[in-house]
Symmetry: C2
Subunit: 183 residues, 2 copies
Amino acid sequence: MRKLSHEELLTRQQTVREARKPLRFCAVLNNIRSLYNVGSVFRTADGAGLEKLWLCGVTGIPPDAKISKTALGAEKSVPWEYARSARACIENVKREGYEILFLEQTAASIPYEKYEPHGPVCLVLGNEIEGVSGELLELCDKALEIEMAGLKISLNVTVAFGIAAYHIRARMKSLWGAAPSGA
Amino acid sequence: MRKLSHEELLTRQQTVREARKPLRFCAVLNNIRSLYNVGSVFRTADGAGLEKLWLCGVTGIPPDAKISKTALGAEKSVPWEYARSARACIENVKREGYEILFLEQTAASIPYEKYEPHGPVCLVLGNEIEGVSGELLELCDKALEIEMAGLKISLNVTVAFGIAAYHIRARMKSLWGAAPSGA
């Protein structure tokens, strides 16, 4: 078995980039406290082919050295927009036909791996400690949760985002072949 | 929809903990440079129900304040052992019947989401920049890769670990019902 060289990976990625057709899949980051977490979500959103990130509330925005440190340039490749009010932002996105998914442990959450998209999807992430603000829950079409098998009751928000986002990507590809093949 | 309270989550987790039966699923961290990344892998390994982490080479070990900062206590709940030589460690684990999976972009890698476990699994992670050392590749039974749809050619190692580990967990549960239900 042979590892792909950095040059081979760059060449392959060039092809992906030229064929790139983002999924109908965006995310809302509401009140994310850590700029490193914001950057990490940018990097993962780039990998998973999201079309846009909405940065809301106290969530920091580019340009910022801490965001760049973990985004590694993805903050320049993934379209984003700041909206002070997450509520107004989610209401707009919902009106455009996106299914609103909260990544949150609620009484009605389903395991993320059982989720099947039926159209455009907006994934909402909340604060590292408090999660998604309770007052936004009425806007939620479906809540997804990630099983916690051990001692801790939650994952790091950027890891949780990666797990949910790549599941949604894989299902969208499988259902609609909507994404270019990059791997 | 109603969010679960911190108390409800703790009570639920108590039940999970009592029923806990770790998967036949371990991971090797070889030459992970960042102690924060080591801690984050501990936290995710706890959530995904891994039985053990092998920390190899220059990878830092608990107790360490930086590891604790991102592990949030999971470094005490997930069994771990230090092994200087990743090669010797992987050879031992392989001899015990584990399938050796590398999370790595190679000429023979398969998309992680197509991977199906057939027995005990050991997932090998390499250095943040260099990936898994090329000289270890001869020990690899299967290499998994995560599709990169955008500009960047790789994900943060802890995010990549979360995506692959939760996929393996979900498939093990689906095939063997091997894990307690925690969510």
